[in-house]
Amino acid sequence: MSVERIRTVVGHVVLMLGVVVSIFPFYWMLVMASNTTPDIFAYPPKLLVGSHLFENMGRVLDNIDFFGAMLLTLIASLGVTVLVLFFDSLAAFAFAKYEFPGRNLLFGLLLATFMIPSQLSLVPQFVTLAEFGWIGSLKALIIPGAANAFGIFWMRQYAKGAIPDELISAAKVDGAGFFRQYRTVGLPVLRPGLAFLGIFTFINVWNDYLWPLIVMTDPNKLTLQVALDQLNGIYGTDYSMVMAGALMSVIPLIGVFIIGGRHFIADLAAGAMKF
């Protein structure tokens, strides 16, 4: 074997080890979710997938309103995603392709908001929403996140390269106003970028924990993450049931990721390179 060949093999061995470490917790989650709790507590522990998966899932559904929480989380995630895609792409289109007084100032301002950590104003944000009477309602989950600086920044970079100026000039000659130019020229070209931003936003809202923990105070209206944490808090020693719940909460997300995964990763990396 040549040196080159040995290096390739060593590289794959290293990468495969890493894959095992990456994937193992998912496997272990499945093992715990499909065995009984006494099996999990036994020594030596059971290392293989058991036969109690559906029984454990059933117990999750008996103890918490799992599908209610999932529906609420789905509505919040979809709501934020749709609004973010619209507002961010519209703003990005304007920033990327039009000259207007104060554009650079406004864009600089937008970048400056990156510096502010969300936890800085956690308390006053809560107080503000309480003043609005939004605590415990879906509005608290959807409206504050309906447009964000990251998305606008990212879409602007994308739009700059993707939308040819000639297309816009042509639309202008045809007499199309700004919003029609956005709809007929901008949106179709931006579609791949929107796919990335959509998945990114959806996953983030779906997984968010601290914000829903604070604002969703009604125990009958919890997001999946908070409901899962409660399940863990109340039935913490019933590992098999808690893990079945965890597994059920993770499956939809893995689905979204596997469908859009390959492009998503490439786009995310490309975005980081633009900073």
Binding site: F87, F100, S121, P124, D174, T184
Partner: protein
């Protein structure tokens, strides 16, 4: 359909053309663009800027969220500075941050390098490495909680099976920090590796070719070419992991719940954000919570500047200065040698010292 729309629009615009002798102002003309960018700024004003200003006001008050606010001036801040629990939270956060960020970025660099050289299975590797990052922290923290569990955990079962003693991971100060850092590392190694990989792919192959021609070894190539060329990407990952690391919360909250010690036994896993959450939303000390938020902000800015100075910043200038300094010193050494007759070897041993 789009074309007919455009045509219809054209005629509509033509009929209501503005008076030709009075062109609309640049601001009036840009109205649609202002409308387009306004949602972000309106939302930011209401849910971003206003709360930030309000939190300054709030941090000068004592308030339980229900009763009347009481002006206390700088008391919250002076209490904060003398509050041992707050300093413990900072120490915990920084330890967890170091324990997670250092292995995370090093492993990511190794993986990215291997991915860069691999020609097969690339798509599979990418998805496999990225999966931990997109799954919920809450669910995966629960899995890791069981792996690290004191009595029935997989890790302790493993330690026992190879004849070692069990470790009470989730009771001991270091065990708790290692457990949290492991979760963070596991979730973010793949993400950072993918970012590094993009950086590696952007380095031109010519440079490597030239190094090969010059007879550079692979470790020389890695440290002298790859790492310096990756510097902007390393800066990006360092800054994002710092900001993320200082805001760690979910892992410790899910592991230990809303107990009296929010960060587990002895509060060894209490992070800055856990302490903020506990103060504001469990103990209802809203003014104090706002003050902790500001302390967190200052820390994040401080650490971002440190990162910037260490990794990025005015580098070219610094490197040239350092090289000039080294050259000057070498000349001085040579001159000194010439006058005193010190043998060559000594100067070589001094070499590393002048790097700093």
């Amino acid at each position: 359909m789009a074309v007919s729309d455009v045509i219809r629009r054209t005629t509509a615009v033509a009929t209501k053309d503005p008076a030709p002798d009075k062109p609309p102002s640049r601001f009036r003309q840009a109205m649609p663009q202002y409308v387009a960018v306004s949602p972000f700024f309106i939302l930011f004003a209401v849910f971003g800027a206003f709360p930030v200003l309000f939190s300054i006001y709030l941090s000068f008050h004592s308030w339980d969220g229900i009763g009347a606010m009481k002006w206390v001036g700088l008391e919250q801040y002076s209490y904060l500075l003398s509050d041992p629990a707050f300093w413990d939270a900072i120490t915990n956060t920084l330890i967890i941050w170091v324990l997670s960020t250092v292995p995370m970025l090093l492993l990511a660099l190794v993986i990215a390098n291997a991915l860069h050289n691999a020609t097969t299975f690339r798509g599979f590797y990418r998805v496999a490495y990225f999966l931990p990052n997109v799954t919920s922290v809450v669910a995966m923290t629960m899995v890791f909680g069981s792996i690290f569990s004191n009595n029935f955990g997989l890790l302790n079962a493993f330690l026992q099976s190879i004849g070692l003693n069990k470790i009470e991971w989730l009771s001991q100060p270091w065990g708790i920090k290692i457990a949290i850092a492991t979760i963070v590392t596991w979730r973010w190694v793949g993400y950072n590796a993918i970012i590094f990989l993009a950086g590696l792919q952007a380095i031109s192959a010519d440079i490597y070719e030239a190094a090969k021609v010059d007879g550079a070894s692979s470790s020389q190539t890695f440290w002298r070419i790859t790492v310096p060329m990756l510097r902007p990407v390393i800066l990006f990952t360092a800054v994002t992991s710092t900001i993320g690391g200082l805001q760690i919360f979910t892992e410790s909250r899910v592991l230990f719940g809303d107990t009296e010690n929010i960060g587990g036994p002895g509060g060894a896993g209490t992070t800055i954000v856990s302490y903020l959450y506990q103060s504001a939303f469990i103990k209802n000390q809203f003014g104090y919570g706002a003050a902790i938020g500001w302390a967190l902000f200052i820390l994040i800015v401080l650490f971002s500047i440190i990162n910037w100075r260490l990794i990025g910043g005015n580098d070219d200038e610094r490197i040239t200065k350092r090289a000039a300094r080294r050259a000057r010193r070498r000349i001085a050494e040579q001159n000194a040698r010439r006058s005193t007759g010190v043998p060559e070897r000594n100067s070589e041993r001094k070499e590393p010292a002048d790097v700093g």
